[in-house]
Symmetry: C2
């Protein structure tokens, strides 16, 4: 269903309207419409066409689905070192398959970029980013782009969010992996530049390190772009700009939206808008360290996930707004933005709460939600006039 | 500045657009524009015309103002038993002038309805509702409609919100007046039908009691329509319906929006979405009492105040939305509603916070805010295309 939305900021000349203007003043309201069901905790989605998608299931497979015919097919050749929640059987286990992205130049360069939980027997698990080409519903020519060692036996906060920047570089969020702050080493993981965890990476599509990355000194892990991250799952580019925005999970409160800046330190665990989970833990003083505050933080727990900007034409007043779904509140947040400033925040679908992992826009400007459920769904947000 | 907003839910036939549709897709965003300054904590506003208003100043006077010429004039003849924060000098004193309403049939029946803090020497203060006719910028022919005795020495939570219902009756919120729950008598004030405080009243415009009010039994104060209220300041009718909505201040959290139902008990202090301020206080069991839950409660403190529904044509997507300003967060909340269900909640003007007491719409559909400041302002929300 398509609506033609037209808004004129000036009086219209040369057009006659026979309708009563009041009748024409119809409101367009968003409705949820289930497009596909039966997905095993879907995490992300990449559009091959306007109706054909690659979907990652956190607790399942990489799946190709046709949103029109509802056909689903498992993509063969996923890396064998994948582990997931079902296999690991830990309470609250966050592991599985995360992001899926297509190469910005996919037609000529059919790479698919994937992040997931990789295991190594006897050592544990970590976040891994690979790319592989796709043909006949199979992955081939696999390349490892980032392995966020060490492998550990903590089963939380892998991060795994990815986006291509306006600069063509691949930006990757790696979580801190701890559940309790009392388990932090002397220098907190996210603050330690020798440790890959709790960072945002910027790499070339082939995994090499760009020359113009921020310089953190010789002992820093190559590829770090920002630090002080607890668990960021969503990262996205603001259309028409080079700005990158990312969501971050707090502990007790502390859920945030941040604007990515080269070399920035987002403060975890030394500075947070929430409270530490380990009441007896005090982070060490880090003399001279500057922390970058978030663009937004919630006064409630929402567990924000895969965000995106809206540029479709179905909801005129949503143009260039930032959408952020959440797991724990199960609602969708809409932010209007002016430069780096968040002007307003709307919580949508208050009476239809369901754990949401991702919001994503199709090439033709339709908006879709992925639900974090055993019977995971792809839900389209459709306009209805009232 | 006027904008012509047109939205078509169906393809347009018989009209040609020479513009590029993408250029026409302009967003209308809300901006604040100060219309009038120098008001002493304005509380409410009633429109005599589209540009002439009566404004109550909580800490001042009843003022007539012209929003175009900026002229202000004090209305003479305000009741002499008025007390206000400046005179009382108590920390956090809530007293002063509150609501101003015009008679629904004002042209023929030029009554002005006012709520305010009345004092009685030696006894204290209470909420009082009067009406008086207005002529030559003076009030005359005063009538007392409701005196919420007892007078007490508590200086908090007067309520004072008023609206005319679709039924032509006058609805009035009276606060509970306590600050600490430990000061509650054996039966909490709001739960005691023999006490006028912590109630919503429904009376005829002349102060008499309608025959069809809920029957709370012979010992109940006449005129009670609902109970279990802590401090409701905002009450308004939903256009096109007979529904009445009111805002309510909680203690530590517990800020709510409620739908008014005849005979309903909103639970204070026995049931609240917040926490009691007196940790050592336990409300008595009230066997067989049914409490009505709110339509909405916040997970943060906003101190919601004078609310209204929007029916203007400047912001198409706001049509029939409920607007609720707040004191403590200083932002404006927008709610979309379907029947009794709140579908979405938006917090506006996040980077322009100022204590807000009231949102009110002019007869020609413009939206205005009153700021709770020493230099109190009337701010118009104007549409700007982006």
């Amino acid at each position: 269903m398509r609506y033609l939305l037209l808004l004129f900021a000036l009086p219209i000349i040369g057009c006659k309207y026979t309708e009563n203007p009041q009748t024409a003043l119809k409101q367009v309201i968003p409705k949820k419409q289930i497009v596909l069901e039966g997905l095993n905790h879907p995490w992300s989605m990449a559009f091959l066409t306007n109706t054909t998608v690659l979907v990652t299931e956190k607790d399942g497979s990489l799946v190709k689905a046709n949103l029109a015919t509802k056909e689903k097919q498992i993509i063969k050749g996923f890396p064998a070192d994948l582990t997931d929640s079902i296999r690991a059987i830990h309470f609250g286990d966050n592991s599985g398959i995360f992001e899926v992205l297509l190469d910005p130049n996919f037609t000529d360069s059919p790479w698919v970029y994937l992040s997931y939980t990789a295991k190594k027997d006897g050592l544990g698990t970590t976040t891994k980013v690979v790319r592989a080409k796709i043909k006949n519903d199979s992955l081939y020519q696999h390349e490892t782009l980032l392995l966020a060692e060490p492998y550990t036996r903590e089963y939380f906060h892998y991060g795994g969010g990815m986006t291509f920047g306006a600069d063509g570089k691949l930006y990757i969020t790696i979580g801190e992996r701890l559940f309790w702050e009392r388990d932090e080493p002397e220098i907190p993981i996210s603050q330690d530049l020798r440790d890959k965890r709790g960072k945002i990476f910027r790499i070339n599509p082939n995994g090499s390190i760009p020359d113009d990355n921020p310089n953190f000194g010789p002992s820093a892990v190559p590829g770090i772009y920002a630090l002080g991250i607890r668990n960021a799952q969503g990262i996205t580019v603001q259309p028409g700009t080079s700005n990158i925005w990312f969501s971050e999970h707090g502990t007790i409160l502390g859920d945030e939206i941040n604007i990515l800046k080269a070399g920035a330190n987002y403060g975890w665990p030394n500075e947070t808008t929430g409270r530490l989970r380990s009441a007896d833990y005090t982070p060490p003083k880090l003399e001279g360290t500057q922390f970058t505050p978030p663009a937004w933080f919630w006064h409630q727990t929402v567990a924000p996930t895969g965000l995106c900007f809206y540029t479709g034409d179905e909801f005129l007043h949503w143009n260039n707004n930032l959408f952020v779904p959440g797991l724990s509140r199960g609602s969708l947040w809409r932010f209007t933005i002016d430069g780096d400033t968040i002007k307003s925040a709307e919580e949508l679908f208050l009476d239809e709460r369901v754990r949401l992992r991702k919001v994503v826009q199709s090439p033709d400007g339709k908006l879709f939600l992925l639900t974090d459920e055993d019977n995971g769904k792809i839900i389209q947000i459709i306009p209805q006039s009232k």
